[in-house]
């Protein structure tokens, strides 16, 4: 075990995977000579060569399209989108091409592609460097969407994503990059895609979350136990698609209270899918209405500190208060 922050866990895993399998190619803007804007691939070009660490033009549709072509023909490309906000020119490639290759060829072809994209706000990134994009892509059957919240999960899920025969969108919350630290096993770990994880056990209510919000939920749960003796169970979704409802439902059936917390715009977000499925499948196990806490429905995260803070926390301690209210309902 070595303690690392989240971005270091990703860097080390990428490095070890590339060293172990020369089919892996890293492609993206500034991933080579510069080593990526977050220094995830610093030194990789020197170590693995320009054929495997490719500085692409600033053209996201081209980057993802080329990576699809590589994936179809014997390579294991990892495309880096510098910021998740910039991925949308490639939406067509992901939606119309990558997701359908296996389906349209009746399994003759797969698309073993990983697309990494740093996402999320709370880092003063403002309108175009703060976005949550998971809902758009989780809506596409044929694409897996992964969002680890801890360094160990980031390492384990990245290892699995690279080995996955299907396309995986790997989302990394930027605020977690250096803020979140944790022990990471030294040997490669296989963390299954499509499996949620109970990050804190409890009996009084279930809180379902992912990304940076998960850590705020864990903090609130710790305070709730200390201050009020309320035991919240916190489930880390980890994979948004395919979504592990079994783990979520098992927790909800135990606690009889459910809450979903996510940073993305609230409406049509991941929380809607999770809450709807809880209502469909565990309605009669519930003692209270499902609570959904999402970001405000505004087009983008604004810049000024007061505005950004409001986006992330519209009322003081809103997650803590929401959890307490649900427990007392």
């Amino acid at each position: 075990m070595t303690e690392k922050n989240l971005v270091t866990a990703i860097r080390d895993t990428l490095h070890d995977e590339m060293a172990a399998d020369d089919r892996i190619v890293l492609i993206g803007q500034d991933v080579g000579a510069r080593g990526g804007v977050f220094k995830v691939s610093e030194g990789f070009m020197t170590e693995f060569g320009e054929q495997r660490v490719v500085d692409a033009p600033l053209a996201e549709s081209g980057i993802v399209g080329v990576a699809i072509g590589m994936a179809l023909h014997g390579l294991l490309p990892i495309a880096e989108i510098e910021f998740a906000d910039f991925i949308h020119p490639a939406f067509d490639q992901i939606l119309s091409e990558a997701s359908r290759m296996r389906y349209r060829t009746n399994g003759d072809w797969g698309c073993p592609l990983v697309i990494r994209a740093p996402c999320g706000g709370g880092i003063h990134g403002a309108l175009y460097h703060s976005q949550s994009i998971e809902a758009f892509y989780s809506h596409i059957p044929g694409v897996k969407v992964v969002m680890p919240s801890t360094p160990a999960d980031a390492a384990g899920l990245l290892h699995t994503a690279i080995a996955d025969p299907d396309p995986v969108l790997f989302l990394e919350h930027k605020k977690c990059y250096r803020l979140i630290k944790g022990d990471v096993p030294d040997a490669p770990q296989t963390t299954p895609i499509g499996l949620a994880d109970v990050k804190r056990e409890g009996t009084d209510l279930t809180v379902v979350s992912y990304g940076y919000e998960l850590h705020r939920c864990l903090d609130a749960a710790a305070r709730l136990e200390e201050d009020e003796g309320i035991h919240a169970e916190v489930v880390d979704v980890r994979t948004l698609a395919p979504l592990d409802m079994e783990t979520i439902l098992a927790s909800v059936r135990k606690t009889a209270r459910a809450m979903v917390v996510y940073e993305d715009n609230r409406t049509y977000g991941a929380g809607a899918e999770i809450a709807a499925t809880i209502a469909e499948r565990a309605m009669f196990d519930l003692d209270a209405p499902i609570v959904r806490i999402g970001g405000p429905d505004i087009p983008a995260m604004p810049f000024a500190a007061a505005l950004e803070h409001y986006y992330m926390e519209p009322e003081p301690d809103h997650i803590f208060v929401g959890m307490r209210d649900l427990a007392h309902f």
Partner: protein, 338 residues
Amino acid sequence: MEDLTAGAAPPASGIDPGRIELYRLMARLRAFEKRAYDLFLQNLVKGTSHLGLGQEAIAAAYGVAMRADDYTFCTYRGHDHTLARGVPMAPVMAELLGREGGLMGGKGGSMHLTSVAHGMMGSYAIVGAHLPIAAGAAWSAQVRGSGQVAVCFFGDGATNIGAFHEALNLAAVWRLPVVFVCENNLYMEYTPIEAVTAVKHPAADRASAYGLESILVDGNDADAMLDVARSTIGRARDGEGPSLVEAVTYRHGGHSRADPAKYRPESEVQEWFARDPVLLYRTALEAAGAPTELFTAIEADADREVDEATEIATASPRPSVSIIDRDVWSDGGSAWRN
């Protein structure tokens, strides 16, 4: 890949066997597309379709010039390109009809023909989307040192979309073994391409923007197409990088089955029909000494092949709905949970 030179009649002496092979392929494509049109008229093909009648020389020339393991990427007007890679007619016909025996079991239809086993890496119905994918395939071939070449066909309309520029630039920067072939049939669906494009030749005039040679060829001249196909594939195979070819041609019919193409001046249509590539090539080969019996035999072979394919395709059952959720994920299913 099947031997397309094999047929009932012996090739004429003194003529490059590649030319006879090319004619035979063009005749087969022509016969297939005419039958596809007949099947539409009989209402056996549901949905839309885009025929390659009049444009056969381009797909056929590359079909003859390509190596069996090369990659083809093409558009929704892709019956010709699919058959040109040696995909048998029956499964293509059955796919048009949406039958179980179709090339893709009925999932794709006319616009999405794909056969990985034949290097036919897909007909793409999102205009321009396949250009970067073809570049990626070429990158893979380059890294693996396989000597394979990717040939990517697209229409004139695709030259105004961002993916065209992105792919050409990347391919040129990385000197990828890919040949981009613009089939300029003068109309972007219903609009003359010249009305919406800043340059006269939508692909050739832009080649210099990527440091590439401007290649403009008569897409209805099969010999000229074969020369260009051989030279551009050769360049790519020899590590000399990508090419951008503009082959000027004309579709005999409308954009799709729903389009009677009334927007085209009659004189223009007549002019191009007189330059029908199959007719032109037959005339050229006859002038070179190929006997009439050869063409009679080639055309009879093609008709027989189409008849057989039609029989197999129409006898094939409709697909079971059980395939609808098959092959979404690598485990073969669509289950939401792993």
